[in-house]
Symmetry: C2
Subunit: 304 residues, 2 copies
């Protein structure tokens, strides 16, 4: 078995990815009883680290999970995973699991919560060289797990609906899938939020979706650039009739969707609003108010 390069923090130690392993009895595995967050590092700087850490803490609290370290120390651990790996660009994940209960008791309160962090090479939903061509997606009949079952604002690993959506996409010659809600309106895709543009106005689903940090960033950048934007119900028909569609994810930023259900979106090429937001997004990576040097996070959160 080969593993990606990188460094993990697990059970209080830093290890290479090949040694980063959790017990099969961890409820994070056996019940997907865990939350996580992913922040990326670009050219030696974390992008919006504070926003990711804040969301992670809020998700943990909602699941009655206790982070065993301070937020500053968490940032220090994430930074140390990156520096030990020697990455300039990285995909950095923090995970808090329910953990193992020594007696295999089914009571989640008996388990010892476990923090795992790791840095691996930057991962892309759409690689930079594929960006001009854009992403081809299908609108899937699979319903996104609804918010009255699992709170989508608590970032979680309940992905079987997405995975089945991906196989649906592959069967139909596309690269990814957008799931819908019980009313057939747009929800989200595997690892991304979706936006439509029609006559210069942007829309994105307001409910039943992860409040992605890149989604939030796109909303802020649209405001900054003066593009009107609504968070509301967005029908599948609107996506099919849109001038532009784009998706947002830590794994690739802002990415154009140029085909839906095998039909071109608009003229089938990246649209001007998507391009403007995409360029602004990457420019922000050098802005100190949006990013943190890995070395600074390391210095601020040393081992106790």
């Amino acid at each position: 078995m080969t593993y990606p390069a990188g460094t993990a923090y697990i059970e209080g130690r830093f290890v290479p990815m090949s040694e980063a392993k959790i017990s099969v009895l961890d409820w994070g595995f056996l019940h997907s009883d865990a939350t996580y967050d992913v922040v990326h590092v670009w050219k030696g700087r974390f992008f919006r680290l504070d926003v990711h850490v804040e969301r992670f803490l809020r998700s943990a609290e909602r699941l009655h999970l206790t982070l065993p370290v301070s937020p500053q120390r968490l940032a220090g651990i994430l930074a140390e995973c990156v520096t030990r790996s020697g990455f300039e660009d990285a995909y950095v994940e923090m995970v808090l699991t329910r953990g193992v209960s020594p007696t295999f008791s089914r009571d989640p309160r008996d388990a010892h919560n476990q923090l795992i962090c790791f840095a691996i090479p930057f991962g892309w939903i759409l690689k930079p060289e594929q960006r001009e061509a854009g992403l081809s997606v299908v609108l899937s009949d699979i319903r996104r797990i609804p918010p009255d079952s699992v709170d989508p604002t608590v970032k979680n690993y309940h992905w079987l609906d997405f995975v089945m959506g991906l196989y649906d996409a592959y069967d139909r010659g596309a690269q990814s899938a957008v799931l819908t809600d019980a009313q057939g309106n747009l929800a989200e895709g595997p690892g991304f939020n979706i936006f439509t543009v029609r006559q210069g106005r942007i829309a994105t689903p307001a409910r039943g979706v992860l409040r992605g940090v890149t989604r939030q960033t796109a909303i802020e950048l649209a405001t900054e650039r003066g593009f009107p934007l609504d968070e509301r119900v967005v029908s599948a028909a609107e996506a099919l009739a849109a001038d532009e569609v784009f998706v947002t994810s830590t794994a690739g930023g802002i990415m154009p969707v140029t085909r839906i259900n095998a039909n071109p979106v608009g003229d089938g090429r990246m649209g001007p609003i998507t391009r403007a937001l995409l360029e602004t997004y990457w420019a922000k990576h050098e802005d100190a108010s949006w990013s943190t040097a890995v070395e600074a996070a390391l210095a601020a959160g040393p081992a106790p």
Copy 2:
């Protein structure tokens, strides 16, 4: 960290539970992209091993997962986990995960599916000494993940709805929770199916639930004992007005529910139909048409 006793099979080797670990990059962890099944051993005999293995194979196929061994060899591995552990009674789990993709590609087709099996001491939702008192549950407002999102007949680890239901139960002084569907009808609880009895007639939800092997066993035993039973929509009101309620799980068999939302079910004691089914259930464990000696499974599925 202490772990339960027992033996696991992972990456082709048998190891103690303390060493049974999977990569944190396994999609079975990072996306809960896995299926599993649990069979129990009682007094040296597997109970309905063939039914569990058959369901496991069907679940794997639905998720586009490939079992790396034959069904006979799988049974042999499960048996070897038990004999190496020296257990007379055991909880035996088989798991098939999407696995790791060496490049961390997001395409599930790039991952190497991984089989993990383990035997640990028998686990109970309700211990035998608690059986007369019965289980106290709440009917939770949390909706069970619906079947148009994740197929519940494919046994899966998407349990955050159940885990939140458990915390809801603890807050309300109960031991467990029964989740409902979008119409407010009964669905299932964490690891169990539910049955109601009213005027001698048994009912259990037909849809949106795992088709549990113990559920199926209870249905067959009801037929054998001459108790009429319907698989249909069962309202929450019916549970509250029932003469008897019981739940079924590999982790404990058939177990009476004697309190719902802090109110007694019937007279608050185990009812006669529950008792008859429970006794028949345990009697079947010595019946060769319902059970398989661990030694026989071991002999039938040797290492290739």
